[in-house]
């Protein structure tokens, strides 16, 4: 990457909202984005959920790049929504506006209210259809299947990062993300992680996978 390119990108303000359920690896994903951004010379801010919510609740993190000083994202102001679970992605739509790029894992983790029959989990096809109407660009696919194919069911976060990296929506090179995955994730899972990342990237590179405009 040339320096001029780098400098232009550094003033670009990008707000990325990540949401999922405890145990899905959202915090690692946001941290890796932050580390890659730091290595590329940005002043990233990554805000994380810790504490009570982690017992089976919703875990949200945000990554903010550019000239911004606020670590969190207000309703309607995310540029990218990276959703790790179908219902939670849909719930986080209030942080999106029509132009937000949404990358959604269609995998489902039923909340307790659904498991005990107090509430019904909405059909995923309906959630996806409604999302595709609500935002201009949506990439929805089962990241869990790809993670398992890659050899690690826990690599859903890597699949989603790969998809995000392939959109060119990030002011970061794909290589810079791969580099932090190589240095910052468990060496035992490195091959699976890199394969998962690659599989996510391939999904995003296929124009047929996108609903609405391709970013």
């Amino acid at each position: 990457m040339s320096t001029t390119e780098n400098r232009k990108q550094k003033t670009e303000n990008v707000r990325i909202y990540l949401t999922g359920v405890g145990g899905q690896g959202t915090l690692l994903a946001s941290r890796l984005l932050g580390e890659a951004a730091l290595a590329a010379g940005f002043e990233p801010l990554v805000s994380e959920t810790h504490g009570m919510a982690q017992r089976g609740g919703i875990v949200v993190s945000t990554v903010v790049l550019g000239d911004l000083k606020s670590p969190i994202i207000s309703p309607g102001e995310a540029d990218v929504l990276l959703g790790f679970e179908a219902l939670e992605t849909f719930r986080a739509l209030n942080f999106c506006n029509r132009r937000t790029l949404v990358i959604a894992n269609t995998g489902v983790i039923p909340p307790y209210t659904v498991a005990v029959g107090q509430a019904q989990y909405p059909p995923v096809s309906r959630l996806v259809a409604l999302m595709s109407e609500a935002v201009d660009s949506l990439l929805a696919f089962d990241a869990g299947v790809l993670a398992r194919e890659a050899g690690s069911p826990l690599a859903v976060n890597m699949v989603l990062l790969g998809a995000l990296a392939a959109t060119d929506y990030l002011p970061l090179s794909r290589e810079s993300l791969l580099e932090v995955i190589r240095t910052r994730t468990n060496p035992k899972f490195l091959d699976a992680n890199l394969t998962a990342f690659q599989k996510g990237a391939e999904v995003a590179e296929n124009p047929g996978g996108w609903l609405g405009a391709i970013p």
Binding site: V21, G22, R31, G34, E35, L38, E43, P44, L45, V46, S47, E48, T49, H50, G51, M52, A53, Q54, R55, G56, G57, I58, D67, L68, K69, S70, P71, I72, I73, S74, P75, G76, E77, L87, E88, F90, R91, A92, L93, N94, C96, N97, R98, P110, P111, Y112, T113, V114, A115, V116, G117, Q118, A119, Q120, Y121, P122, L127, L130, A134, V135
Partner: protein
């Protein structure tokens, strides 16, 4: 080696605000650190623990915040730089020491981190601890970013030594739990010296005659502290123009973004305050003299606003100064960038274009299913709650359940519904006494093992001494689970290499004079049910110690899951017993020909084998180890 010990000055690292605080303390040569865990401060202690295993730093998980503060104060009185960190409500527990510590003063730098929690992400209230600095007469710094958190921690040690006073570093969740670029400074090269306590009882023993003089000293120091605030690099005025904004903490970051996005960067005079107590009156006066109208942006209480208005009054200025109020800022909950931008735009009459947020429930056409947090599958607390529910039912009595703070507070939610009253840590056993005395009803109080040592001992002694009629169930899972599995005095599950000496809870209970006490294993249902029934039926102070380790922590330490698995093998019909009394998240229901059939999710099942003891339809899966 811990990343926080990297000796590469000038390098930038992505640190959590809490890690930045630790790094700042290490750069300042901290010798002793003490804490009691609590979100959002917990990672400060957890990182310090790791560092302490690799360096000569002394660190301890203290029994509670008062203990932590006093241990740190003793070290600081002996010439060791000391750090004490806690969540905001922890400072209430430590407040007795805090109020007089300023009288006694310190010989080496001492920093007290108070991590406030606007919006109550993991807390019982959202008190604004900046008033503690005012109440105790102590200097206070408020960082707005992880980098500032590091810089201010380091500076706070120096400030503390210059003034001979402990210094408060007041953060909020958004600073503690944000990662940002932090530039490393040098770590001290020389090894620390042994501490030395210089006897000086007529300045250090706070009897009235001494304390009267000491109070006068503290008041004098206030003026010196104010001069330091006037000159502090953490208080800056930038920009110019007749509109003024003053802000501190993360709210200052929101203001900076608002000015950027509203195109007001060059039109507003911005007073960014980081050294917020004592407030630099001269600097504030200078700021006020330059503007015609002021907006004060701070989360929670109008702490700065009141001070700034007082400065205006003293300077004879009558310009409008606003902060809290209708159409302006709320005293409730944390702010966000768009909220601050909106108020700034409205106050100064400039246009703002908020992002058009989508409305998920509106798009979906109905509310989305909630996802509340829940006790883990295999959690020992659930098993004990179940035994109490059934015991009461079989005895035909309705219990009242004062509870306490920890994972087990999640027992509040149905179907367990085992929590009726909670104020703060330790309030289970004490409020139980009052409730039982006033109502004459069966009162069953619940307290966790960490909470028992933190604030339960005195309450139990009181119950015994004053002949109360209560049953206390100590939920002993061997760790402080809710805040991230820290050790405590009764600990049985410890992090690697942990040097703390465990204290036997049953022995403590006995020594406090409890005559009816028993240890039960909650996963042995028959036994725990019989013991619970007996304890409920009896009178006087009774204690049951429910002893079984936190499942999640055991799994983490061992790094593998139990192989035993269970399945529902018969038709459930319309039984619903497990749904209505137990509520394990590994169980789920599927409507099957009109009736509901239960299933067990094998990925989630912890293999605790509790449900098989109350339901005949549940059996081990063939081939699973058990």
């Amino acid at each position: 080696m811990s990343e926080l010990l990297a000796d590469q000055p000038g390098e930038r690292r992505l640190f959590l605000g809490n890690e930045a605080i630790v790094r700042g303390a290490l750069e300042a040569g901290v010798r002793l650190a003490a804490t009691y865990p609590g979100t959002p401060a917990s990672e400060i202690g957890d990182r310090l623990y790791v560092v302490s295993r690799q360096t000569d730093l002394y660190f301890e998980y203290s029994t509670n915040e008062k203990v932590a503060l006093e241990v740190a104060a003793g070290a600081a009185a002996s010439g060791w730089r000391a750090l004490c960190s806690m969540k905001h409500v922890g400072l209430n527990v430590a407040a007795d020491a805090l109020m007089t510590l300023g009288y006694v003063g310190v010989k080496a730098g001492m920093v007290i981190v108070s991590a406030d929690d606007p919006s109550l992400f993991s807390s019982q209230n959202e008190q604004d601890n900046r008033y503690y600095a005012k109440l105790a007469g102590l200097p206070m710094l408020e960082p707005a970013s992880p980098q500032e958190a590091k810089d201010m921690t380091r500076a706070a040690f120096e400030l503390s030594e210059e003034l001979g006073l402990p210094v408060m570093l007041r953060t909020t969740t958004r600073i503690n739990h944000t990662r940002g670029a932090v530039t490393l400074g040098p770590l001290p090269s020389a090894p620390g010296k042994a501490g030395r306590f210089q006897k000086d009882p007529f300045n250090l023993v706070m009897v009235p005659a001494v304390a009267r003089k000491a109070h006068a000293r503290l008041v004098e120091k206030y003026d010196r502290a104010r001069e330091q605030a006037e000159a502090s690099r953490f208080n800056t005025i930038t920009g110019e123009g007749p509109w003024g904004i003053a802000a501190s903490g993360v709210a200052a970051a929101y203001v900076q973004d608002a000015l950027l996005e509203l195109g007001l960067k060059d039109k507003v005079t911005f007073l960014k305050l980081g050294f917020t107590h004592p407030l630099p009156a001269k600097l504030v006066g200078e700021f006020l003299a330059r503007v015609e109208k002021v907006l004060v942006v701070e989360e929670l209480e109008p702490f700065l606003e009141e001070h700034i208005k007082a400065v205006a009054q003293e300077s004879g200025l009558t310009l409008p100064i606003h902060g809290k109020g209708r159409e302006l800022f709320s005293r409730l909950y944390e702010y966000d960038p768009a909220l601050v931008r909106g108020v700034v735009a409205r106050y100064f009459g400039v246009p703002d274009e908020p992002g058009k947020a989508l409305a998920p429930a509106g798009i979906f056409g109905q509310p989305l299913p909630d996802r509340p947090p829940n006790l883990c599958p295999g959690c020992p607390h659930r098993a004990m709650y179940y035994a109490v529910k059934i015991a009461l039912q079989e005895l035909g009595v309705e219990g009242i359940f004062p509870t306490d703070i920890g994972c087990y507070t999640l027992g509040l939610l149905p179907p367990l519904s085992m929590a009726d009253f909670l104020i703060c840590m330790g309030s289970s056993i004490t409020t139980a006494c009052g409730i039982a005395r006033a109502t004459g009803r069966k009162v069953v109080a619940f307290i966790g093992d960490s909470t028992f040592f933190h604030a339960g001992l005195t309450g139990l002694a009181n119950a015994v001494h004053n002949n109360h009629d209560v049953l206390l169930i100590i939920l002993d899972n061997g760790t402080t689970a809710m805040t991230g599995h820290q050790p405590h005095p009764g600990v049985t599950l410890t992090p690697p290499d942990y040097p703390g000496r465990p204290i036997d809870i049953a022995g403590v209970v006995k020594a406090l004079g409890v005559e009816q006490s028993r240890v039960v294993n909650p996963f042995k249902y028959k036994e725990s049910l019989a013991a619970t029934k007996e304890a409920i039926a009896a009178r006087g102070v009774r204690v049951l110690i429910s002893q079984a380790p936190c499942h999640l922590y055991v799994q983490r330490i061992k790094g593998k899951k139990s192989k035993a698995r269970f399945q529902v093998v018969d038709a459930c019909g319309d039984c619903r017993h497990c749904l209505d009394y137990f509520g394990c998240p590994a169980m789920y229901v599927k409507p099957d020909a009109g009736v509901s059939q239960m299933f067990i999710d094998h990925d989630l099942c912890a293999g605790c084998a509790f449900c098989v003891q109350f339901c005949e339809c549940i059996r081990p899966v063939k081939g699973s180890a058990r």
